[in-house]
């Protein structure tokens, strides 16, 4: 059995671009769900809009890379307004329903045949990341023991980690301020906050925009690291993994999403590398599972782990048990 490879992939997923993209997405979702109590089930759409905003600007319309970034960000803000204006006045569950539907609509628009001239249909788009990689200061990759990144990966990771640092700083500063106090109070009881003269709808909108924009940063990293966008990556299960990550790390904790994303991806990478190895070595007979089935089993085990976590440590890794107990009153 090749333990070097198994540990190599696992350790790499502590730091790599996929983990970063999910962490950024979850940082945004944590603003919505963890701090404000907004049930946004369409976070994947924010990543999709940003990724396609960038890809279409550069690849379809031949416009500059930075304009693509701006358009991606503006797209995320517009999506937040579009989702928020009709729903934020209503009860919390309406946002959940509308966001899950909106995310599907966004995905179906990206893959629709009618728009494929611009979006590339179900194949998606490529060739929009050249400008990004031409800024790469690294000329060679990095190899430390079993961990191995090439220079392109290193560049995405550098930018990604800077974005994580920036996002965490913003969330940290905002949430310890009076603004964050209003946001957290809205999570507890909107009417109480209204009775004290705060414009609750406006704050919820600000939260939706902030979390959406932070999530859109994850969309850029996700698209750039793959040098491609594909509509079906931005489906609802994307959002559910983000929820898993937020809860794993501990909702309403600044570092929770990053830790959550690391644990999620390390576990998944480890299991996904270990199981096929065990099968090929004959430790797991093929009547239990074939190497092809191992991938699905990996997700099942992660799901099982999450269920156990919710039972035995519902506050997540970082959460405060007292807070959760209060919540379950």
């Amino acid at each position: 059995m090749n333990w070097d490879v198994i540990f190599g992939v696992s350790l790499e997923s502590l730091l790599n671009a996929t983990m970063i993209a999910y962490a950024l997405a979850a940082i945004g979702l944590n603003v919505h769900f963890g701090y404000t109590g907004l049930l946004n089930f369409g976070q994947s759409a924010f990543l999709g809009v940003a990724a396609y905003g960038l890809a279409m600007t550069v690849s379809t319309f031949d416009l500059p890379f930075w304009l693509g970034i701006v358009i991606g960000l503006v797209g995320a803000v517009l999506l937040a307004l579009l989702l928020g204006i009709p729903t934020l006045r209503l009860r919390a569950d309406y946002l959940a329903i509308v966001t899950i539907a909106a995310a599907e609509i966004v995905r179906l628009l990206f893959r629709s045949v009618t728009l494929s001239e611009w979006t590339g249909g179900s194949d998606g788009l490529q060739r929009f990341s050249d400008d990004f990689y031409s800024m790469n200061p690294y000329s060679k990759g990095l190899e430390i023991g079993v961990v191995n990144f090439d220079e392109r990966e290193l560049w995405v990771m550098t930018v990604g980690w800077l974005l994580i640092a920036l996002s965490l700083l913003i969330v940290f500063l905002a949430m310890r301020s009076p603004w964050g106090r209003v946001i957290k109070a809205i999570r507890e009881d909107e009417d109480a906050v209204r009775s004290l003269g705060k414009n609750v709808v406006s704050y919820k909108m600000q939260s939706l925009i902030l979390g959406g924009v932070l999530g859109s940063l994850g969309g850029f990293i996700f698209a750039l690291s793959r040098a491609a966008v594909q509509p079906d990556t931005y489906g609802t299960e994307f959002t559910f993994y983000m929820y898993t990550i937020v809860i794993l790390g501990g909702a309403a904790r600044v570092f929770g999403p990053v830790i959550g994303s690391m644990i999620f991806w390390v576990l998944l990478a480890f299991i996904n590398a270990l199981l096929p190895a065990l099968i090929s070595q004959g430790y797991i007979p093929t009547w239990i599972m074939t190497p092809i089935q191992a991938g699905a089993v990996g997700y099942i085990l992660v799901g099982l782990g999450l269920v156990l976590l919710l039972i035995f440590r519902p506050q997540g890794i970082f959460g405060d048990k007292k807070e959760v107990m209060l919540d379950g009153r």
Binding site: K184, R194, L196
Partner: protein, 347 residues
């Protein structure tokens, strides 16, 4: 309370003077009303929960809004403060029309309410609950919130004011605790203190004393009276008649959605219409002696106070307004209020 007898505080004297010549009838005009409401109607399906023709609230006075369970007091509060929309009606606060104005704007205009079902913000600390009440906070704007230097000074002032109020309400020892860990009565206190952080012209308290222990009730009553001395207007809902008599300058009685009587505490409690509303229209009428009836009305409320949470009897919601309390107060357990139930469930 000894001073009350020897010297009359200026606030009490002012309120008494203002209300001296006001006729004791529903919809009576006040000398200097802070709030004037006209034909406010709210229907829930076939039920007309509120149907108030005309009512005025005297500035600087403590006005009690009383009435049997289901009379529409809370609904009327909700309408006035923008938490519910009326089917008809308009009202003015400080001379400005308020109908259709959003709840948070009503609060900013200086009319702040508390809730019958207490709304403590559980996973915020007590002090953060208080700070939230501060108005015009620079740090509550997103971009400014990112730079602590902008809001730190103001935060300090707000915190000082919050600490003073917490001390007044005997919550200073709970300062850092989550509000969710407070008892039902402490939450009532916190909510009231938090409302005062807004520095309103008028506070509207929906059963502020329900679930608060008698010793603390006395000091709370003291606070409410001191608000009047500060020039604030207080409108409060309360079922305990002794308390109403103790602190209110004026009493407004609601029954089945309408204002059925108004006046000073003593005259109102002797009013046959009020007795009818409280005891049901079909009582035998032998108890029109004011003292006895007032006592009885108080007793009914007192039974309510002492009723064990989840105790015997139907819940308030299922009882028709007329038969909410049996005459004599003996079997009057029909009014374990929603608040009681909530407080019971919290333990």
């Amino acid at each position: 309370m000894a001073d009350d007898i020897t010297t009359v505080p200026p606030g009490v004297a002012r309120a008494a003077e203002a209300l001296k010549d006001v006729p004791h009838e529903p919809g009576a005009k006040k000398k200097d009303p802070i709030l004037v409401a006209d034909s406010v109607v709210r229907r829930f399906g076939g039920l007309t929960a509120v149907n108030v023709g005309h009512v005025e609230i005297q500035r600087g006075a403590i006005t009690a809004l009383i009435g049997p369970n289901g009379a529409g007091k809370t609904t009327f509060f909700n309408l006035l403060t923008g938490f519910d929309r009326p089917d008809e009606g308009k009202w003015e606060f400080n001379g400005k029309p308020l109908a259709g104005v959003a709840a948070h704007k009503v609060a900013r205009q200086g009319m702040v309410r508390t809730f019958q079902l207490t709304k403590a913000l559980s996973r915020l600390s007590v002090i953060d609950n208080m700070r939230l009440g501060g108005t015009g906070q620079k740090g509550e704007r997103f971009w400014q919130s990112l730079i602590p230097a902008i809001w730190r000074g103001q935060e300090k002032e707000i915190t000082e004011r919050a600490d003073e109020l917490l001390a007044r309400f005997k919550l200073d020892t709970k300062r850092e605790d989550f509000a969710g860990s407070l008892s039902g009565g402490q939450r009532k206190l916190l909510e009231m203190a938090r409302a005062l952080m807004v520095q309103p012209d008028m506070v509207m308290l929906d059963e502020p004393m329900a679930g608060v222990n008698p010793a603390l009730t006395q000091s709370l009553l003291g606070h409410v009276k001191s608000l009047r001395e500060d020039g604030m207007t207080v409108l409060f809902v309360e079922h305990d008649m002794d308390m109403v008599r103790d602190i209110s300058d004026w009493v407004i009685v609601m029954g089945q959605g309408s204002i059925i009587a108004e006046g000073t505490p003593d005259t109102v409690m002797a009013d046959p219409r009020v007795i009818d509303a409280y005891l049901g229209a079909h009582h035998d009428g032998t108890q029109h002696d004011p003292e006895a009836v007032a006592e009885e009305v108080g007793e009914v409320a007192a039974t309510d106070e002492s009723a064990a949470p989840g105790g015997s009897g139907a819940s308030a919601d299922s009882a028709a307004p007329g038969d909410f309390a049996a005459p004599g107060g003996s079997g009057a357990s029909g009014e374990v209020s929603g608040e009681k139930k909530a407080a019971g469930a919290d333990e």
